[in-house]
Symmetry: C2
Subunit: 430 residues, 2 copies
């Protein structure tokens, strides 16, 4: 007997996923089938997956793509529900215009797929373990054989050329093994479909925001001169995964970043065991994460008395953020946000060349951005209600750095909504 339970985002009443206890056909390690009573846990409602699939198929049709091979783990999860740390081997989901998605991965991960995807079990396929990191076989050969067997070996097939998990070799092997297909670049096709968040997704992002707030609260309490960096990171990670109330924390796609003083000029160095020091600003770049949905949030803490340079930078940055939030409204463009931010920074003679934000939501390491829109002067994408961004105007100067950021939601009307709610300033502990 199967038993299905709907899950509701408690604060909002929005129906989200469902869990199901049922007899699952399970693949044994030798490839034969067994069975067992297991819990299938799908994060979103059937209607939500239907919406996503329909949107993706329309995008495929517009691009003249008949079959789409999705290898970005976030795109796989968004389309099917699949969630596991298995993206270090080749895996994917194949999207057709007229049949259900087909999950494909290492045989060892089939049991994970059976527990997490919404499709029927027959739409899950595993390849043998001796394809893994082999010098004589490649998993893409198995994918090609299957595509040909499904009768789509002569189609126009989209592949995500610019993706961490679709290597140059994978492409070369797939191309050679599908001599009659036409492989076309479908980079970011699904990512663009993800730009506008549904109510169900926003339930998750708001939960992640509560975790982000908790992390920042802990930092403000704990950071003191003399405390080694790694001890603070240990508490960040603990807070992030303990979560808030019944919101359990998932792993963020980037580790906490917290460079201090002149090292804050190097924004992507990770921590070590050196202590926080008086007279230094440290920015904390973190994100709460709930079921793979991220709400990044950065704040800066100064220990001691900040210089006038830093105080003026803070003032200009907060002014720029507020101008940017005003500009971040439906109908405006991505560049309008960047330009609104730039003005007070320029007045303060702060030279800032990097983009100031990117879309956020579902993601896997190594990045929590969606890699579509960039908040920068050359990006004219029109903002739409439901889009979410990390508005991230980090200042990484020659020998100091400052980050005060907001994760934002574009609303039907008015300025953007900030998903986290903590004072927008550099915190000074003297």
């Amino acid at each position: 007997m199967n038993e299905t339970t709907k899950v509701t985002g408690e604060a909002t009443g929005v129906e989200t996923g469902y869990t199901e206890r049922r007899e699952l056909p399970i693949l044994r390690s030798d490839g034969t089938a067994g069975a067992g009573m297991v819990r299938k846990d799908v994060p979103f409602s059937p209607a939500e997956y239907e919406r996503r699939l329909t949107k993706t198929r329309h995008a495929m049709e517009r691009a003249g793509i008949e079959v789409l091979c999705v290898t970005d783990p976030a795109n796989i999860a968004w389309l099917t529900g699949y969630d596991g740390w298995s993206f270090y081997v080749h895996q994917g989901v194949v999207i057709f215009l007229d049949q259900h998605p087909w999950w494909w991965g290492r045989r060892q991960d089939v049991n994970g797929a059976l527990r997490t995807v919404w499709m029927e079990d027959s739409r899950v396929h595993g390849y043998a373990d001796n394809f893994v990191q082999s010098t004589i076989r490649h998993p893409m050969q198995d994918l090609a054989v299957n595509l040909i067997a499904m009768g789509v070996g002569t189609k126009r097939i989209g592949v995500e050329m610019e993706n961490y998990y679709y290597s140059a070799k994978a492409h070369a092997v797939l191309e050679a093994a599908l001599p009659d297909a036409q492989l076309v670049d479908a980079t970011a096709l699904v990512n663009w479909c993800r730009a506008i968040k549904s109510d169900e997704e926003l339930v998750f992002m708001r939960k992640a925001a509560r975790i982000s707030e908790k992390i920042v609260d802990g930092l403000l309490e704990r950071v003191e001169p003399g405390i080694p960096k790694n001890l603070i990171v240990a508490e960040i990670l603990r807070d992030a995964v303990v979560g808030v109330d019944d919101i359990w924390g998932d792993y963020a796609s980037i580790v906490p970043l917290l460079p201090s003083g002149s090292d804050a000029a190097a924004p992507h160095l990770t921590w070590d065991g050196r202590p926080f020091a008086t007279g230094e600003a440290t920015f904390f770049e973190i994100a709460g994460c709930y079921r793979r949905y991220h709400t990044p949030f950065c704040r800066t803490i100064f220990l001691g008395e900040p210089s006038d340079i830093l105080k003026r930078a803070e003032e200009a940055l907060v002014e720029g953020l507020e101008a940017g939030l005003e500009a971040a409204r439906a109908g405006n463009r991505a560049c309008d946000v960047a330009n609104a931010l730039a003005e007070p920074l320029e007045r303060a003679q702060i030279d800032r060349a990097a983009r100031c934000g990117y879309p956020i939501g579902l993601s896997y390491p190594p990045d929590w951005g969606e890699r579509t829109i960039s908040l920068r002067s050359e990006d004219t994408t029109v903002l739409e209600p439901g889009m979410t961004f990390h508005f991230m105007p980090g200042l990484w100067m020659s020998d100091w750095g400052l980050e005060i950021t907001e994760s934002i939601l574009i609303r039907e009307d008015g300025a953007a909504e900030c998903l986290c709610n903590r004072p927008r300033k550099m915190f000074v502990k003297s």
Copy 2:
């Protein structure tokens, strides 16, 4: 004035890295040069980097490669010292036969490179921010322009075709932008050079092992029926980063994995907020990490009274591990370890198809393996002193899973040394 301090692995007396306080030319956000007093922190001795570079050049010469573009972050770090969470954008290091390595990455990360690489500052180059996730520009165009300017645009250039961070698109763009070069596949060329660890590297791995032991000790103390999974993960992460004594913990390249009961059949599902339950086995797949060096270690905890099936599996697995450790000696082959393990498992009628181990050491997400040797029946690589493996015969059956593993060092003589020291068994808490 520059000031250099050598760093010594305290327990062993082996000299490891060095730190240096000096005036560094720093790139401002607008690309102009500034200067500041910063600490340069290089994890290994100059002699160690010299050894690595020489070994890599010999491998290049054997493969007929004149210039090598390295994009695997672990290979970049191994060759140069560079360490930062910046691998989500395109970056690399170019190895020449007759000049120092040349670091190439996003301009924003130049300051990170200046602080972490052993080469002189002029060997660090940043590309402009509008190459990042652009639909009209690609960072590989910048790399190609630079290679041509350095006079190597007509050479035989090695690229790592099978790598998370060398996408199909990156290769296509580089190929198009270097029409006179011959690009050849150099996948794992550097990874193979990493297989035998130096004494300096072993100092780091032994430190990581102490962190692994601490994590497992914490698990044995804390795991109880009714405790939600995420709370245990929170403590694992905290222990991992707090470290042991003065050994501060770095982030591991894979998050902790701890599936229970029938979910243990799906080894790569990550945690949620459900509680541990009586009557279930949970395996814990973790690794302590010190300055990017990993020593993975897995143990299983059973809550309640294990079934005879599980107890027999444990017995066979431990017997197989011990046979494998005996076989893991210099002069034997990778397959000898796998075959020694297989025998007692087969006698117990446990069917196990996956490989049972892989080389370990320096790594970045999403994997802590080195992706060269596999401990499996078809791999005849001869084992050499200084090689390190995660001997990892996980049992992922149809509705249960069991992991008891060892990180091992191949010695000059005798059976392999286990880097961690905890009882080799399934722990039962009744």
